[in-house]
Symmetry: C2
Subunit: 296 residues, 2 copies
């Protein structure tokens, strides 16, 4: 177990989030979880995570799973979690797709045509958010902007089309499900994520003297948190002060910084990508640190 | 014509390189040309370029065409120039492929297996330089390094394979024909060049805390200049002092900086990618500036 001096600014290292929550139930109106490395580990439920979810339901504490997954629709995400033996309802998932609903509303983009790189899940969540999409390079001239999806696609052709469009239309929105560089696959391998692809395009534009600003939907950016918070409030039919919500995640830059910037309390679990050494070196400070989400 | 105050540090703006060279013939032992924007413009010979080349041959002034083209072998480059109605001999072309010969010798890489992204021309100039190459991701474990080629290939799959290899082998050489970000195609369109792809991989490695250092063969890097200079000396069977060679190009960062760093005299022509405005803003100062390579 990490020594308690890991958090000089008053943070707490304790065994499990579950134990803490049972003791601090009265301070918490809702809980936001990251999924991988927190509720699941290597495609299996993390010890105690099913019991925790069952208890939250029983206690009627609203909770949400916040995922940056840009290549799966919420329906697909539920199926994937079911394969990991965790059952969730559609209204318990908040993903980049919901961030897009927020963004389309804010920027009044409904009905506009976007050039879609790759896919953003099945059913296509860009269409559900009210956008029209095309993957036809020939239609790029009619497009209002670009969405960087995931999955396999012909990067060379598609990135080249996007680059030439953005050099001509530097103000056009380029929407990206998450800011992630890579995501893990299989035995220590990495796949390249939409965030990295968008920054590659950004870098290429910069060499031509053109600055573009990708809009990220996922953690740590606000759209995904805003949508989730709105859904909590709609469920309990009242305003929920943000300091009465806690974000539980395994990533300092995505989960902890994102929750903190949104005004939530933040809890880090050490079962995912953040080791005690990374935590000790980081300037991002979670309010609470736990060995795991559940009791083992 | 640009005003003469473009070059405050004593540079000269004159009409044509041809006129200058005829007057300063005794100062010059050899001439190195960039091709596109200098000897050719939009796939046609630049005015006076054929006459200049004929005069150099007649006067027995050794010259070379230095090209960063990473997707064509010298044989293919000659064919392309022939289509532009310019005839050159194989020994008058120096390309990234020759930089690779230099590099293989320097680093004692002959016979080693490299993972080739895309192609490096037909015939494959990496094989001619003494390397063995594979494009099979399954053979990556046996590879000593990576070569980033050009042409069309499956970026997503291939870049992912290269990234995972370099994260495990950060000391392995990653060889890149040129440092260019983009190259122009058709009506104002841009294609993404090998230099940009290599920096994308470099950036991805950096997000994982791994620093890699791509080795560039083309201008402004030394290998291509070294090979060319060696060939001049071998042709005249004596040492040629570098200040007696002049590099004539249209790019400040590739041609002028590269020539200068190698110890050559440098001449910029304003018929390619450098406008008088770009020149005025740049900190890279050619020794001589000409309106064009030939008399119009």
């Amino acid at each position: 177990m990490p020594s308690s001096n890991l958090l000089p600014n008053g943070g707490l290292v304790a065994e499990s989030f579950t134990t803490w929550l049972r003791l601090h139930r009265c301070e918490v109106d809702a809980v936001v979880f990251d999924v991988d490395g927190v509720l699941t580990r290597g495609g299996r439920p993390a010890p105690g995570s099913r019991e925790l979810i069952a208890w939250l339901r029983q206690e009627q504490v609203p909770f949400a799973l916040l995922t940056n997954d840009g290549g799966n629709s919420p329906e697909q995400k539920i199926e994937l979690l079911r394969k990991s033996e965790l059952d969730f309802a559609l209204e318990e998932i908040v993903s980049a797709s919901h961030g897009l609903i927020e963004l389309v509303r804010e920027r009044n983009l409904a009905g506009q045509l976007f050039y879609l790189m790759g896919t953003v899940g099945t059913p296509c969540y860009a269409q559900r958010a009210g956008l029209r999409v095309t993957t036809d390079p020939g239609a790029i001239g009619e497009c209002a902007g670009i969405i960087v999806g995931e999955e396999r696609y012909d990067w060379e052709r598609v990135i080249t089309v996007a680059l030439n469009f953005l050099l001509r239309n530097p103000q056009a929105p380029i929407i990206v499900p998450n800011p992630d560089d890579v995501f893990p696959v299989g035995q220590g391998g990495l796949e390249i994520a939409a965030g990295a692809v968008s920054r590659f395009i950004q870098l290429l534009c910069r060499t031509r003297g053109i600055e573009i600003a990708p809009v990220y939907l996922g953690k740590p950016y606000a759209p995904i948190f805003r949508y989730s918070h709105m859904r909590f409030e709609s469920r309990v039919q009242r305003t929920i002060p943000r300091p009465r919500v806690i974000m539980v995640g395994d990533s300092l830059t995505g989960d902890v910084a994102g929750g903190r910037d949104f005004g939530y309390r933040t809890a880090l679990v050490l079962t995912g990508i953040t080791t005690p050494e990374i935590l000790a070196r980081s300037e991002i400070r979670p309010e609470l640190v736990f060995r795991a989400v559940g009791d083992e």
